[in-house]
């Protein structure tokens, strides 16, 4: 177990290191990752340089109109894969704080109106067409801020300094909305002409934090819940024999291959893990294969640390979240591949804490046809491990069976069957992270409900499958699936090849 704890600590250290790595270099930023927002980017570049976020966002829009779904509105989504040019500070300052704030609010109103009415946003034509999304547009020759009547624009800022040519952009990035050429007529009364480039007919949403968004799907809406149901049904089938919870498969696979933002995938993952655990727990408790006395103290710590994890997860920039998720999943692959199990570990003496709480029990082992008594040791150490597990589970919506079982079994000495059952019980008792996601609006019924139903039905088949196929073969298959999903999340987070 020390080995397992060490590998988890290493993963945490790598996470922290990754979090410190900036995504920008020289005069460019990018490529933009799925889910990355202009708001987030603006908070990271030009820090401590005395300029406001509104100033930075508008300067980025002016310098990179082609990177936006609507080239004259900073609220429109960024194209995934685009590389942004970072204009010189002088250009950022060209618009005063007050002017930038007014202009941003104007664009925000315009965007809201567009969203509400569905009327296309029309950007005034430019002499030079915007570059395609993946290659940031040619330096926009000054885009004087579209002034409001009350705020006349400043004189055009100096020409953009030559910037580092954009890195070769990754191929992917389907533009969030095909940018049809600008239809010149009738700019909105509030948006006088002076600005550049073209406008798409209908752009996906956004708001202050303009999204670095994935292209809206061309598939009909109903195909997604159906697909989710089918995928989760199969995940449910393999999860039981592989001995993993639904969440650990759901998050990397749905996060990697479906068009939902990772926030919703994590919310879904937590609910799927919770629902699976809830369905299993009553039966396990009645059979004595889960222990309430064991689960209660651990659940308190897990519940608290899950809240912290969920809150961190929700503020984590998408790219870092994806990268970290990839690393964690690959760590889980290693853990699953290498960890051993002890059917009934030898516990010479219960530790004082577990003895005081009377954490012990008896269960009937049908395989050996006998009753087995158990007790636990190293409880204080396990409490520490569960704090760490809770943070990770809340942060990535993974559930925590993958870590609970080895901790209970190898560290505390709980027989493997009781460890699996009690892990399920702990998952069902610790809905705190799920609550955080529900309250944030990150639990979307259209994602969560078909997933839960699919996973539950699949699990029923999985239980039958367990009798006829070798669990070890399915376990290997799941490890392989996780390996692929983890690698994909990692590459996606790093913006490589996707």
């Amino acid at each position: 177990m020390t080995k397992n704890t060490r590998s988890l600590s290493a993963i945490a250290a790598m996470l922290m290191l990754l979090a410190a790595l900036p995504a920008w270099a020289n005069d460019t930023y990018g490529p933009i990752h799925h889910g990355e927002t202009l708001w987030g980017i603006a908070g990271r570049v030009y820090r401590h340089q005395g300029v406001s976020r509104d100033q930075v966002m508008l300067a980025l829009l002016r310098a990179n109109p082609g990177a936006f779904a609507v080239s004259c509105n900073a609220n429109s989504p960024l194209h995934t894969g685009a590389v942004l040019k970072l204009p010189p500070l002088a250009e950022v300052e060209a618009l005063s704080r007050a002017e930038a704030s007014r202009e941003f609010r104007r664009q925000e109103r315009e965007w809201k109106e567009h969203r509400r009415t569905g009327r296309p946003l029309v950007c005034p034509p430019v002499s030079k067409p915007a570059a395609p999304p993946l290659k940031p547009a040619a330096p926009p020759k000054q885009v004087p801020p579209p002034p409001k009547p009350a705020a006349p624009p400043k004189p055009a800022p100096p020409a953009a300094k030559p910037v580092t040519p954009p890195k070769p952009s990754p191929p992917a990035a389907k533009p969030a909305a095909p940018p049809p050429q600008a239809k010149p007529p009738a700019p909105k009364p509030t948006a006088p002409p002076p600005t550049p480039p073209p406008a798409p007919a209908a752009a996906p949403p956004s708001k202050p934090a303009a999204a670095g968004a994935r292209a809206p799907s061309i598939m009909p809406w109903w195909s997604w819940p159906v697909l989710l149901f089918v995928v989760c049904f199969f995940l449910g089938i393999v999860a039981v024999p592989a001995g993993v919870g639904g969440g650990v498969l759901f998050v990397p696979i749905v996060g990697g291959f479906f068009p939902f933002h990772l926030d919703f995938v994590r919310g879904g993952g937590l609910m799927v893990a919770l629902a699976s655990a809830l369905a299993a727990s009553p039966g396990l408790l009645r059979l004595g294969l889960a222990s309430l006395r064991l689960a209660l103290p651990l659940s308190v710590l897990v519940a608290i640390s899950q809240i912290a994890g969920a809150m961190i997860g929700l503020i984590l920039p998408a790219a870092i979240a994806q990268t970290s998720l990839g690393i964690i999943i690959l760590g889980i692959v290693v853990l699953m591949w290498t960890s051993k199990k002890a059917d009934v570990p030898d516990v010479p003496r219960a530790d004082p804490l577990s003895a005081a709480l009377r954490i012990n029990g008896i269960f009937h082992d049908t395989a050996h046809g006998q009753d087995i008594e158990w007790k636990v040791h190293r409880t204080p150490m396990a409490l520490g491990a569960f704090i760490f597990i809770g943070v990770l589970a809340g942060m990535f919506g993974l559930g925590a069976g993958w870590a609970n079982v080895p901790t209970l079994n190898l560290l505390m000495g709980v027989p493997v069957k009781v460890a699996s059952g009690s892990s399920s019980l702990i998952l069902s008792m610790t809905s705190s992270a799920a609550w955080v996601y529900i309250n944030e609006g990150a639990v979307l019924p259209i994602i969560v409900v078909p997933s839960i139903i699919g996973m539950m039905l699949g699990a029923m088949i999985g239980v039958r499958l367990l009798r006829i196929v070798k669990a070890s073969a399915i376990r290997r298959m799941v490890i392989f699936m996780l390996l692929l999903a983890g690698a994909r999340a990692l590459l996606k987070g790093l913006g490589i090849g996707l």
Binding site: P208, H261, D263, A275, L278, R286, L292, S299, S432
Partner: protein, 135 residues
């Protein structure tokens, strides 16, 4: 002879009983409300065909763009198809609070103070996370 008490305890059986009822209720609510939502019986707050335009956004942007309620505000819109689904979700997320509440009297009667305090603490943590105070 009933072996259940040999392998479990009174509080464990009670916990399982309450949990089992809650889970069944939650699942039924989830399936029924989802049917009403999907088949358009109840009009949703966010038009269902619009969802693919927005679900790629980070949640905080999604909420702003679509006007999705946060915290417990959805209760006021419970007649909307999508919001109604949250009833089943909330039942599933909250049933462990009820189950833990149910076993408190047993711990109290037996004078098991440590487990009583731990259970109360767990309920408090879950209630705080559910209350949207942290939102």
């Amino acid at each position: 002879m009933d072996d259940s008490h040999k392998y479990t305890s009174e509080e464990q059986l009670l916990y399982a009983k309450v949990l089992s009822i809650g889970v069944k209720v939650g699942f039924v609510l989830l399936v029924v409300s989802f049917g009403l939502y999907m088949f358009g019986v109840l009009k949703p707050l966010i038009p269902i065909h619009q969802m693919p335009k927005d679900w790629h956004l980070p949640v905080r942007e999604y909420v702003k763009v679509t006007g999705t309620p946060t915290g417990w505000e959805w209760v006021k819109m419970i007649a909307k198809g999508d919001m109604l689904n949250l009833v089943g979700i909330v039942v599933l997320a909250g049933i462990s609070i009820v189950s833990t509440l149910a076993v408190l009297p047993i711990f109290a009667r037996r004078g098991e103070k440590a487990l009583l305090i731990i259970s109360v603490l767990l309920i408090v943590v879950l209630l705080v996370s559910a209350s949207s105070i942290l939102h």
